[in-house]
Amino acid sequence: DVKVTQSSRYLVKRTGEKVFLECVQDMDHENMFWYRQDPGLGLRLIYFSYDVKMKEKGDIPEGYSVSREKKERFSLILESASTNQTSMYLCASQVDRGSVYTQYFGPGTRLTVL
């Protein structure tokens, strides 16, 4: 069974702090994604990665950066946290084999920025 884990379920940070959110998957998937989820807005893609050291911007990358040094690990970095980054952050991994592209989601990290 696919397992996607995120480093924290809940996190409280102060404005201006640097924040690291880590995601690990154990299924050797090529593709990994970071989303944020806000009430009524659905999932919005922040960044994704199709390979180690590869990253691409999603729909809302401003204020975020990512790192993928190893295939199983994809980190989301908030360089200087702001209150409008208070949200639920979801990581997903996806196998890329022809027409199969199901994404498997982690449990989410609820980040509050004070």
Binding site: Q37, L43, L45, F48, Y101, F105, R110
Partner: protein, 114 residues
């Protein structure tokens, strides 16, 4: 343990057919149920359902929630090849202190053939 189960896991239909996708859940502190369409890049938000018996419609797609029987259905009429995707169901839960989390089902892979 919170659970979201989608059925069927995969479905192949011909263009013009009508399909019904199912999502049942067993969770505590239910807040809403969400449907997403997932194609190559990222899920697209379709519907958010919070009240029983009120149908939401968007073009050929519609969805309804039954909070007594704990399930939702997503209907697609007059299917087109562009409807081919994985459809994800997610349940939003209160997790205390004003925060919430999302639990996703494994998805239904719909293939529409000409």
């Amino acid at each position: 343990e919170d659970k979201v189960v989608q059925s069927p896991l995969s479905l192949v239909v011909h263009e013009g057919d009508t399909v019904t996708l199912n999502c049942s859940y067993e969770v505590t502190n239910f807040r809403s149920l969400l449907w997403y369409k997932q194609e190559k890049k990222a899920p697209t938000f379709l519907f958010m359902l919070t009240s029983s018996g009120i149908e939401k419609k968007s073009g050929r797609l519609s969805s309804i929630l039954d909070k007594k029987e704990l399930f939702s259905i997503l209907n697609i009429t007059a299917t087109q090849t562009g409807d081919s995707a994985v459809y994800l169901c997610a349940v939003e839960l209160y997790s205390g202190a004003g925060s919430y989390q999302l639990t996703f089902g494994k998805g239904t892979k719909l293939s529409v053939i000409p």
